[in-house]
Symmetry: C2
Subunit: 135 residues, 2 copies
DNA sequence: CCATTTCACTACTGTGTAGCAATATAATAA
DNA sequence: TTATTATATTGCTACACAGTAGTGAAATGG
């Protein structure tokens, strides 16, 4: 991840001259990469999961995840900046929630794909061991 | 990303004792995080995009992306191990293809979400500047 | 056989960042 | 005001990894 210049609104898609299929601009790819990167850490996924059941304040998240306070705070900042979660101050506490329910849809999709992949993988291992035994 | 212990097949979901909603295990979250991490680099997304049109060998990918050869090779290794792309040797050349079309679905989903998010963001900026002018 | 092409691997450097501890800030209570 | 609780931030260390250059290996052509 060599660079992170200040981000301005950019066109996410552009039309190629030879019609039809649209091609993603490098800027769009960079946005996508940043989005995926935010979700590429177990701690942040833990936080996201803990928010699946509903709003929580930082202390509750700390208790549920077992992560350190500074750590959670930093991750929440990243998640907020990425637009994944939303921040709302209520009295002394700060509550966070999933900003876009599409995230759950996405996670389910990935989870299903990974499950299938894992099953296929273990099947292959089974076949391998069977081949070895029959030798 | 502190650790990367050798991965064995694991249960991706487990049932919580108090019924209903299933909770993701730490192992499952780790798998998800790894998957997202593979997609969290512009170079790898470029490679994925270049494969959208169909199979390509390494040289073709290098030409299309402008990346270095060693670099592309390393990224392709990661993508292959993650099960994102599949490898096939044909004579001297090695061809790669997207292993699971679900990836396109996923990318489209993310792309749409980011587009909407970007639009909302720019709208907010517009409103802000209007507020400033009317002062 | 040697030369070329295609790809993979290794070693290295620089950058980003996770986690921790300590400190700072903010909001409320006493 | 001061004290307390809840978050945020900063400074630090350690580690992961992107990119590069050089080398290795395997297939093909001459």
């Amino acid at each position: 991840m060599p660079k992170k210049p200040p981000k301005k609104p950019v066109a996410v898609q552009e039309r190629t001259e030879k019609g039809g299929i649209s091609k993603l601009t490098p800027e769009a790819l960079s946005l996508m990469a940043d989005f995926f990167k935010v979700l590429s850490e177990v701690s942040r996924l833990q936080i996201v999961c803990s928010l699946k059941a509903g709003d929580k304040n930082v202390t509750e998240i700390i208790e549920e995840t077992g992560l350190g306070q500074a750590n959670v705070s930093k991750h929440l900042k990243m998640l907020t900046q990425a637009g994944v979660v939303a921040r709302e101050q209520r009295g002394v506490c700060v509550y966070y929630r999933i900003a876009n329910p599409f995230l759950f849809e996405l996670c389910d999709l990935v989870c299903d794909a990974l499950t299938i992949q894992a099953e296929q993988h273990s099947q292959q291992l089974q076949q391998l061991s069977q081949l070895r035994q029959s030798r």
